[in-house]
């Protein structure tokens, strides 16, 4: 039976779908890129937290009648500042600071949404995403945010890597680690805001984290992780978006499920790779990924 190409390209006959595919690919790639640094910082919770925090800003901007992006951006940046400051000034670990600040931000949104006079527009889209309702303005915002993120990572890569790996020594070597962390928080906030309309605040964390942890399981090389994470993010977003057209599922949730699937595939791959390196020391069965250097010996 011949493959019906018309059937395969059917979604692209619709302008709204083509735009949604482009937007989801941009978000997937950008989240994949940023996710690597978040995972390596051991702050995976920040993606989840920040997406919830900006919900408060979105509700407030709706109530006071200002542009959604302006309100959410101010709120997101303030949350990032607050987390950085709490972490720096008090002996409170980053995960605890993220938990309190971002959940409180989300709670303010929920509180105002239920007590406010003005009904919130697109409430469901914010929580669960509606990529098909993405407007031209959203598209432009997402495009700008993707470009800013790539430029930031490109020029700050060395400082970011040094700060994440060994922040104390980075400080000694003249890296302004607080500025780096602040800029990173701001970039994360605007990426979250760009993605929240399409993927939704409750689902976004996986889109940020899943490509990065999948890539991390596949390779130990930093640049390969970056490239792989972006590719996985793009593939997840494309497949999620594309298949949602045929199975009539919510696009945000479908993208996230593809993200989770890519993680499962990466786990299987990593396990198989480990089995390949299985070897014996006497009667002890043993597996590790490193080669034996001259000085490296271990006993069982």
């Amino acid at each position: 039976m011949l493959l019906n190409t018309d059937f395969l390209f059917q979604p692209f006959h619709y302008e709204f779908f083509t735009r949604a595919i482009v937007v989801s690919i941009l978000i997937g790639g950008t989240c994949g890129l940023l996710g690597v640094y978040i995972v390596l910082r051991g702050m995976s919770y920040i993606g989840h937290g920040m997406s919830h925090a900006v919900f408060g800003g979105a509700v407030i901007s709706n109530i006071i009648g200002i542009n959604f992006y302006i309100g959410a951006a101010i709120w997101g940046i303030l949350s990032g500042l607050l987390i950085t400051e709490i972490n720096k000034r008090y002996k409170i670990k980053a995960d605890a600071a993220i938990g309190v600040v971002t959940t409180a931000g989300f709670a303010i949104g929920v509180f105002l949404m239920n007590t406010g006079q003005t009904p919130l527009k697109n409430f469901e889209a914010l929580l669960f995403g509606n990529i098909l309702a993405v407007t031209d303005l959203d598209f432009i915002f997402i495009l700008i945010v993707s470009i800013i993120t790539i430029i930031f990572i490109f020029f700050f890569q060395k400082r970011l890597l040094f700060t994440i790996f060994d922040s104390e020594t980075a400080k000694v070597y003249g890296v302004n680690i607080y500025r780096i962390e602040l800029l990173f928080s701001i970039i994360l906030a605007i990426v979250v805001i760009a993605a929240m309309n399409s993927i939704g605040v409750t689902l976004l964390a996986v889109a940020i984290i899943a490509p990065a942890i999948s890539a991390r399981l596949i390779t130990n090389n930093f640049f390969k992780i970056i490239i792989l994470s972006c590719i996985i993010g793009i593939i997840d977003a494309f497949l999620g978006m594309y298949s949602s057209f045929y199975i009539d599922s919510p696009s945000g949730a479908t993208i996230v499920l593809f993200g989770a699937s890519s993680f499962i595939i990466a786990i299987v791959y990593s396990h198989l790779k480990k089995l390949q390196h299985m070897h014996f020391h006497g009667e002890k069965k043993h597996s590790h990924l490193h080669t034996h250097s001259e000085e490296h010996r271990h006993e069982h």
Partner: protein, 245 residues
Amino acid sequence: MENMESPENIIRLKNVLFGYHYHLPVIDGVTLNIPKGGFIGLLGPSGSGKSTLLKLIVGLHKPWEGEILFAKHNNDKDQKFSIIGYSPQVEGIDWDFPVTVRELISMGVWNQSGVFPWINKTSRIEIDNLADELGIGGYVDRQIKELSGGEQKRVFLARALIHNPKILILDEPTAGLDNANKDNFLKILTDLNSRGITIILTTHDIDGVAKKLPWIVCLNKTIISQGIPNSTLSENILYRTYDLK
């Protein structure tokens, strides 16, 4: 800008007082002159303030009282980090972190290796040459976890050395090494010192390290004693340094 009183001293600490909690000083009135080209070991038990003193010198902490002066340099941050090579204790390092030996060493020249995310050619050559010199040349493309303990220590030494500092500040650089590796590492440091690099390191190992250094400073919040190992590592001084009755 305040210069050193003696041009022979590269660092001078004057009555330095510092702590992490109010009224609980970890460093209490330390006055210490580090001569240019010196090789000094700070010896003391855990919690004696050795690492804190190093962090004060490299500028990670500011003294509550007293001052730390550098020869021909004020405490300007930019000037200071260009003359200091610092290596922290590696116990807190995430060895699973996906960086290669070359990438780790390149962190020491993050501001000289080009604005792009990759290392420029000049820095790459310098890194590879230094790695060769320290006996880790064959491993530059390996992930840091794939190295032995001795090799890992040398990688961190290479990061501290790559920008040609005048002063090397090393926190417990030989901790966790067996005797042969300790001796090898000390041999490398002695060689660097003979080329004019001032070295300050911390250790809690009396026999394996302290006895083999040219100058020892016994520290326990304050300086208990200092001098050559033969005279400094006496029973009385060690009892006082280690709070033994």
